[in-house]
């Protein structure tokens, strides 16, 4: 297949810490953190899957970073880690051909929210901080990451909520296939904060769940699989297919299940993979009964009930727009750690309250073995 993507680098931050081993560890032994001291505002609970001690300075220094919000800091650090993890060298020859594609729900909600609050509480409504204005806009992270890493290729932000990473993968594939870029830093981010914690709390309350909020970011170096192999390099993961769609979530609960079934079947077909070849499904299960049941119904219909499920959110908490990125990172981390076999095929599923659904089919290897496809 000519249109598949190769992942050749990973940068990941999750409540469990920075790096793939931390995430892999959390998959087998999930832990939460005391977040009660993180913010002045009240939180719905004192525990979350958060990086409570994270300080951007520790990773990037002070200059140029002191006005970053949390999302931006996560994104820029994840990009840095991904670049360091890959063989991609960015220089003046190729920096216009290396781009960034990052997923979000609504940017740093805390940033736009705090900006709004200033207009409501300051003596005059315009007494806001100009230097923080770009933070209130959703493309801040991607723009700052481009500045920090001097990447002048296509720079996109995709607001997809839980579907963000699958949207990002499809968008990235198009940029590569149509020749707009040669390599991309593609990933997705969600920050923990009072607004997000309450948003998760309220969303869970509407759907009858009680999963704790989390946060994180995963950024992947993505190139054309064909180009990577032609250069004698090997992918960590090959993204074989990604399918998404929007379906009627209200049609007696079956609309979403049927929709995800369709996406999953299409993804397998485009990947040239049979249900029997799938070794793991990294699901989006998050305790929202209606959505979890629809997702399970679709997986059962296409892959059967025996395929092992990896419920990533047990390890990461509800990370909204970072969900898909962390599902993908979790699968990659298992290959890195030797918990998944070389050449194993896995599936990622995703869905949201509005009827959006999607599935990706990937194949991974352990980097040390070096015999990747």
């Amino acid at each position: 297949m000519t249109d598949t993507m190769a992942i050749t680098g990973l940068g990941v931050l999750s409540g469990a810490g920075i790096g793939a081993p931390a995430l892999a560890g959390a998959l087998s032994a999930p832990q939460t953190t005391d977040v009660s001291e993180m913010f002045e505002e009240p939180l719905p609970g004192g525990q979350a899957h958060a990086l409570a001690d994270f300080k951007v300075r520790d990773h990037l220094g002070r200059k140029g970073t002191s006005f970053y919000d949390r999302s931006t800091a996560f994104g820029v650090v994840a990009c840095q880690e991904a670049l360091a993890d890959s063989a991609l060298e960015v220089d003046d020859e190729n920096r216009t051909r290396v781009g960034i594609v990052l997923g979000t729900t609504a940017g740093s909600v805390k940033s736009s929210w705090d900006y709004t609050t200033e207009t409501l509480t300051q003596e005059r409504p315009y007494l806001v901080n100009p230097v923080l204005f770009p933070n209130a806009v959703m493309n801040c992270t991607a723009g700052q990451a481009a500045i920090r890493h001097n990447l002048r290729g296509p720079n996109a932000t995709v607001a997809g909520g839980p579907l963000a990473m699958l949207n990002v993968l499809r968008y990235s594939r198009n940029l590569l296939n149509c020749g707009y870029a040669d390599a991309l830093l593609s990933g997705s981010i969600e920050e923990f904060g009072p607004q997000e914690a309450w948003r998760v709390h309220h969303a869970q309350s509407l759907e009858g769940g009680d999963l704790l909020p989390g946060e994180g970011a995963a950024v992947f170096v993505i190139e054309s699989a064909e180009a990577v192999r032609a250069a004698g390099r090997t992918p960590d993961v090959e993204v074989l297919a990604v399918e998404t769609g929007v379906f009627d979530p209200a049609s007696a609960g079956s609309g979403l299940a049927d929709g995800l079934t369709l996406c999953l079947s299409r993804a397998l077909e485009r990947a040239g993979v049979t249900a029997g070849q799938v070794s793991t499904v990294a699901t989006a299960a998050n305790g929202m009964t209606r959505l979890d049941e629809a997702e399970e119904a679709a997986i059962n219909a296409v892959l059967g009930s025996d395929v092992p499920r990896l419920e990533v959110k047990e390890a990461t908490g509800e990370t909204s727009s970072a969900s898909g990125a962390l599902q993908l990172a979790a699968l990659l981390a298992r290959h890195r750690g030797g918990e998944a076999g070389d050449g194993d095929i896995s599936v990622i599923t995703s869905r949201d309250e509005e009827g959006a659904a999607g599935a990706a089919v990937i194949r991974g290897w352990n980097r040390a073995h070096g015999d990747n496809g």
Binding site: P44, R95, T96, T104, T105, A106, G107, S112, W113, Y115, T116, T117, T119, L120, P125, Y126, V128, N129, P130, F133, P134, V137, M138, N139, C140, A142, G143, A146, I147, L151, R152, G153, N155, A156, T157, A159, G161, L163, A164, N167, R170, Y171, N174, C178, P194, W198, R199, H202, A203, L206, T244, G245, V246, D248, G259, D352, E353, E354, G355, A356
Partner: protein
């Protein structure tokens, strides 16, 4: 690759809702700005915006429940609904097809966020309405389009700030030409909000009464709002169903300044223009009209005119800014520009830059089409879109004839 054409237009704007009202307003050089009503502007020294006072989503959308969606999503769904009606395609056939939407936005559901921030101040986080909270995701801007039209393909919201519609149009174009989709709705939407108004004022980028791009005395933007949608399909499909073709999407270019979050970069923008021309398979000399980003700030207009002069030489094609009429509709801006450009091609006119009085001797010689629309044959139009984060996106449209 398949050829992709625009066969339906859906503008929802302060100067007109629907293609005929919008086209007429562009040709008459109408101003859409007025005193702000969507938030309490008390205390702001400047208090006008390009609000869409006539917007009544109940009259425009048929399927989605208006109370379940925020203003920006409703702008998007309404614009898409108008574009589909304009394209004259059967709704059921569209719903059965491989079709989706791609919408750009700067601030997403900003009014929802502001309502929540205000509620939190008065009642606290715990008392926030979960149903309001659910409306916050910017993903819903494109999802609203899919749900309204029962499209089961991609719903992608590109939140690349003020060039987002061009990103969306470009991506939708690729999905159709590569065969990933057969029909796409592309455009953008945004709503006037306090925080953007405050931020632009504080940056010194907001003007008091009238936005006058490229004028020597230009003093900034006026925030605006609305929705824009273009209906895309293959040339083959449009021809087969006898559809009116406004324009062909020839290609687009994307790049990133990677220098500064808010200051535009002339060389980078010039690069983006060249990239767009190359991808569209055209020479600079074949461009007949540039629909400028033209925000009306000192800095944007100087940089944009400079970049255009760098690429086009001493006699660039006429370049006007419809932001002089609509205000800056943010994520919808380049969508409104693309619609204006499709109309320019189809109806042979150049939309004007209104509020223009004094040419700026500091700018390279450009023709901003001052104050009155001009009759002109337009075979190729270039739509400029720049944004915070150095997110440049330029789309090239051509006559399909």
């Amino acid at each position: 690759m398949r050829r992709v054409v625009v066969t339906g237009l859906g503008p929802v704007s302060s100067i007109g809702i629907g293609v005929s009202a919008y086209s007429q307003a562009l040709q008459e050089g109408v101003s859409g700005v007025s005193p702000i009503t969507s938030f309490d502007a008390t205390g702001f020294p400047y208090s006008i915006a390009g609000e869409v006072h006539d917007f009544d989503p109940e009259q425009l959308v048929k399927r989605i429940e208006t109370e379940e969606w925020g203003r920006t999503s409703l702008f998007a769904a309404s614009a898409a609904r108008l574009a589909v009606a304009d394209a004259g395609i059967d709704e059921d056939e569209l719903a059965r097809s491989r079709a989706g939407s791609c919408m750009g936005t700067t601030a997403g559901e900003s009014q929802v966020l502001e309502r929540m921030a205000a509620d939190r101040l008065s009642a606290g986080y715990a008392e926030l309405d979960p149903r309001l909270s659910r409306k916050l995701s910017a993903a819903r801007v494109s999802q609203a389009v899919n749900r309204e039209l029962r499209l089961t393909g991609d719903a992608v919201t590109l939140s690349t700030a003020c060039s987002a519609s061009n990103y969306a149009l470009g991506y939708a174009f690729d999905l159709v030409r590569s065969g990933e989709a057969d029909y796409m709705l592309a455009g953008g939407a945004d709503s006037v909000c306090r925080w953007a108004h405050a931020g632009f004022y504080r940056l010194g980028a907001l003007t008091e009464k009238a936005c006058s791009p490229f004028d020597a005395n230009r003093s900034g933007i006026i925030t605006g709002e609305g929705g824009a949608a273009l209906f895309l399909e293959t040339l083959e499909s449009a021809t087969a169903r006898g559809a009116r073709i406004y324009a062909e999407v020839l290609g687009y270019g994307l790049n990133c300044d990677a220098t500064h979050m808010v200051a535009p970069d002339k060389d980078s923008i010039a690069d983006c223009i060249r990239l767009a021309h190359k991808n569209a398979g055209i020479e600079a000399s074949s461009v007949d009209y540039i629909c400028a980003h033209g925000t009306g700030t000192q800095s944007n207009d100087a940089v944009e005119a400079g970049a255009v002069a760098e690429v086009f030489g001493e006699q660039p094609p006429p370049m006007s800014s419809i932001k002089s009429m609509l205000g800056h509709t943010m994520g919808a801006a380049s969508g409104h520009g693309a619609i204006a450009s499709a109309l320019a091609i189809n109806e042979s006119f150049l939309p004007p830059t209104i509020n223009f009085s004094t040419p700026d001797p500091a700018l390279p010689a450009i023709d901003p089409v001052p104050n009155w629309a001009k009759a002109a044959r337009v075979d190729v139009a270039q739509v400029n879109g720049f944004a915070f984060g150095g997110n440049n996106a330029i789309v090239v449209l051509g006559s399909a004839a």
